[in-house]
């Protein structure tokens, strides 16, 4: 289990969970604020407009009832106002042109005879129709005022005032309902944001944990994240990447183990032979010569292994010579000449057939290596009186090289692994034949680095067949 150091743990306020939750809360808070202000503002405005219309209408009716009077006094105003129907207004004042109150609906504390210096009344006495309304402390307070004219002369003014707590109570009820709903929504949002942010960032946390586990060397760890969203997709990609990493790591370990073993074997043999020479008294020269020859053979084998390893290392690091167009046919013929000697020694019949010029983009050495390794293997594993066929042709824009034998073939279980480094079907026989276990790996890596492919299969009549395909090149010069 990887231990995450404190340095890696970011503070909570910097975490994605916090940011996500906070942004979610801010958005909802803005919506709730709007919900608690805009409807109230609109409602308030509607009430203002409604009151303006109704009060100005009421004042107009009263002004009309006073029209026709050339001069206003307490008696004629009282008579005119008695005709006006109940308006429901809280207070009505009628003044003369100087602002002296001639009529007041207030039951107690009437202002008759006083001079009303209300701003609305003064505006009306200056010739303006006025309305104002305010809402605060639980009531709508509305004022309306209009001048009374006689032959275009201002002879007085009518002032109306309304103190309305009922509509205010409705508005406050609306406000408190909205507030209650908002509080409920806010609580639900808080809980939801907590849950959602955990759900979302939980996946990311799992992924992060998995990355840290793998980083610390636990290549077998996988991120278990369900779902089909982008995070789940990232987790799947991560798992695939880790699978490849696991395979690569396993291959590396196996390679190191195999390489160590392969190198250790000849070294051990050399050690044994030299010890024998050194610790055997009166050893005869013939035996010594035999031992030294064996030491030489093992040293040569060690050298071959080292050279092959170096080749593979260069291929792994993409250290490749600049390729040119190579005509495979002459290279094939050269290899056939070399291999025919070995074939004769082994009692193997080696035949080959070419169908003309086949050009590939590689180096001559690479092509030579590929053909030689495959042919050498086929000859060694055909057995006495075996036959090896080598065929070269161009087909479907590919240069196809086929090397087949009539030997024992390759067990089906070993076919998928035949190109692995140091993999041998018959270890003892391979060593005896002087193989390093790297020949087919070199063939595979060399061909694939040049955009080609290699496959192996068993022949129906017995034996193995290797098929190498290179992309064919047209024209150019011979390498």
């Amino acid at each position: 289990m990887a231990i995450i150091s404190k340095d890696e743990q970011s503070p909570y306020w910097a975490s994605l969970k916090f940011k996500f939750g906070l942004s979610y809360i801010f958005i909802i808070a803005a919506v709730l604020l709007l919900m608690n202000t805009y409807p109230l503002m609109v409602s308030e405005d509607l009430v203002f407009r409604s009151k303006e219309a109704s009060m100005q209408n009421s004042v107009s009716v009263m002004v009309y009832s006073l029209s026709g009077l050339d001069r206003l006094n307490e008696e004629n105003v009282s008579d005119a106002m008695a005709v006006v129907e109940e308006t429901g207004l809280s207070r009505i004042l009628v003044t003369d042109s100087a602002g002296r109150v001639l009529y007041d609906t207030r039951e107690t504390g009437s202002a008759l005879g006083k001079y009303a210096l209300y701003a609305e009344l003064v505006q009306a006495l200056m010739g303006n129709d006025v309305f104002s309304c305010s809402y605060h402390t639980g009531a709508f307070r509305s004022h309306a005022s209009s001048p009374v004219l006689y032959q275009n002369q201002i002879i007085g003014a009518v002032y109306a005032y309304e103190y309305d707590t009922e509509q205010a109570a409705l508005l406050e009820g609306l406000q408190s309902n909205l507030l209650r709903v908002s509080i409920g929504i806010a609580i639900a949002v808080l809980l939801l944001s907590f849950v959602l942010s955990r759900a979302l960032t939980g996946k990311i946390s799992k992924l992060l944990t998995a990355i840290r586990q793998v980083r610390s060397g636990a290549y077998s760890h996988r991120a278990e994240i369900r779902g089909h969203d982008e995070i789940a997709q990232i987790a799947d990609e991560f798992n695939s990447l880790t699978d490849r990493l696991q395979v690569t790591e396993d291959t590396r370990r196996r390679f190191v183990s195999d390489a160590s073993h392969e190198l250790k074997t000849p070294l051990s043999a050399i050690q044994l032979l030299t010890d024998s020479i050194l610790h055997t008294d009166n050893i005869d020269p013939e035996t010594t010569r035999e031992f030294v020859a064996d030491i030489g053979a093992e040293a040569q084998r060690l050298t071959h292994i080292t050279e092959d390893l170096l080749k593979l290392t260069r291929l792994d690091n993409d250290i490749l010579d600049v390729p040119t167009e190579v005509d495979v046919e002459p290279v094939l013929e050269q290899v056939m000449r070399m291999a025919s000697l070995l074939a004769q020694e082994q009692g193997v019949e080696l035949t080959y057939r070419t169908t003309g010029r086949c050009r590939v983009l590689a180096t001559r050495g690479e092509v030579h290596q590929v053909i030689y390794n495959l042919t050498d293997n086929a000859v060694k594993y055909s057995g006495k009186n075996g036959i090896v066929w080598v065929h070269l042709e161009e087909k479907d824009d590919q240069v196809v090289l086929t090397v087949a034998d009539n030997g024992p073939g390759i067990p089906e279980a070993d076919l998928p692994r035949i190109f692995e480094r140091f993999y041998r079907v018959d270890k003892a026989r391979s060593r005896a034949a002087g193989g390093t276990g790297l020949g087919l790996s070199i063939v595979h890596d060399t061909v694939t680095k040049r955009g080609g492919s290699v496959r192996v299969e068993n022949r129906p009549d017995g034996g193995a067949m290797f098929t190498v395909c290179w992309p064919a090149q047209k024209g150019g010069q011979d390498a």
């Binding site: 207004l89 809280s90 207070r91 042109s97 100087a98 602002g99 002296r100 109150v101 609906t105 207030r106 039951e107 107690t108 504390g109 202002a111 005879g113 006083k114 001079y115 009303a116 210096l117 209300y118 701003a119 609305e120 009344l121 003064v122 505006q123 006495l125 200056m126 006025v130 104002s132 305010s134 402390t137 009531a139 307070r141 004022h143 201002i154 005032y161 309304e162 103190y163 707590t165």
Partner: protein
């Protein structure tokens, strides 16, 4: 950060010390008085008054005559606040001001006689409000070159003539005996002082108080919750209470109606102006 806090604290302390020693409205140099001008934009007062004062300082060493003259001169100069305007016609000069007992007589130049209607009212009462601040002045008379202004001859101006806009919603109070019920159904009287808002009558205030229910948790209301009297009014010494038949149908028991009527009658009758209470249903006598 600490320096800023210390600076702010020093400033606050200095202001507090200065305020303590100097005080509002008073300093070692004199006393502040109000000089009344007119709101320049009457539509912007938000149901306030047309006149609004500006503060001026007068030396405490000045006599009453000198103070009257200084206040009037300041009034004639016009306001410093741009949101105010002068009520006195431009070019008006103070010819004399004298007081005899509590009456101050102000004599102004000819320009003052150009005023009429509400503008004259505003000017007269700007002068009245300004001068009646002085303890020795309670009444004001304004003349033009020693003569009365013809269309309001003989009028003495007083601060009590003015109707200013009320600052409170409550315009008066009335005491009434409200009848509620105890657990046994017995009527219990409670004396309460009821606020009267603009447009309220005494009888409507009593009915509203009964609808709101008792303040004491030991008492029960006579009017059921959510039940509203349709209308109540008074003609001379008779009170009329009108119910809605639809609302009455919501009463659970017939006895609730009787209890409600009894409670209303007893409570309304406690008002001095009410001798009889009549009940109506949809405008018809019950």
């Amino acid at each position: 950060m600490k320096r800023w806090i210390v600076c702010i604290l020093c400033i606050v302390l200095s202001v507090a010390i200065g305020y303590t020693f100097v005080g509002p409205g008073e300093n070692r140099e004199g006393t502040e008085y109000e000089v009344f001008f007119r709101e320049r934009d009457l539509s912007d007062t938000h149901s306030g008054d047309a006149l609004r004062p500006e503060l001026v300082k007068l030396s405490d060493e000045s006599g009453s005559q000198e103070r009257m003259e200084q206040l009037l001169e300041r009034l004639l100069q016009g306001p410093e606040d741009e949101t105010l305007s002068s009520v006195i016609p431009a070019g008006t000069t103070l010819l004399s001001v004298r007081h005899n007992g509590v009456l101050a007589t102000v004599d102004l130049s000819n320009q003052y006689s150009a005023l009429s209607g509400v503008e004259l009212t505003l000017a007269d009462y700007a002068i009245t409000q300004t001068l009646t601040q002085l303890p020795e002045v309670m009444l004001v008379k304004v003349t033009v070159r020693g003569k009365e202004i013809p269309y309001r001859s003989g009028r003495i101006l007083s601060q009590r003539d003015i109707l200013f806009s009320p600052k409170e919603d409550v315009v008066s109070n009335v005491e009434a005996m409200l009848y509620f019920l105890d657990e046994e159904g017995t009527f219990i009287p409670t004396m309460e002082t009821l606020n009267l808002y603009e447009g309220d009558t005494q009888v409507s205030a009593v009915v509203r108080a009964l609808e709101n229910g008792p303040q004491s948790k030991e008492l029960l209301p006579v009017i059921p919750p959510d039940f509203r009297v349709r209308a109540v009014w008074q003609v001379e010494n008779e009170c009329y209470v009108n119910f809605s038949s639809k609302q009455l149908e919501s009463l659970e028991n017939e006895s609730d109606y009787d209890t409600m009527c009894q409670g209303l009658e007893k409570s309304l009758s406690s008002l001095e102006t009410v001798e009889k209470v009549n009940f109506l249903i949809d405008g018809q006598f019950a």
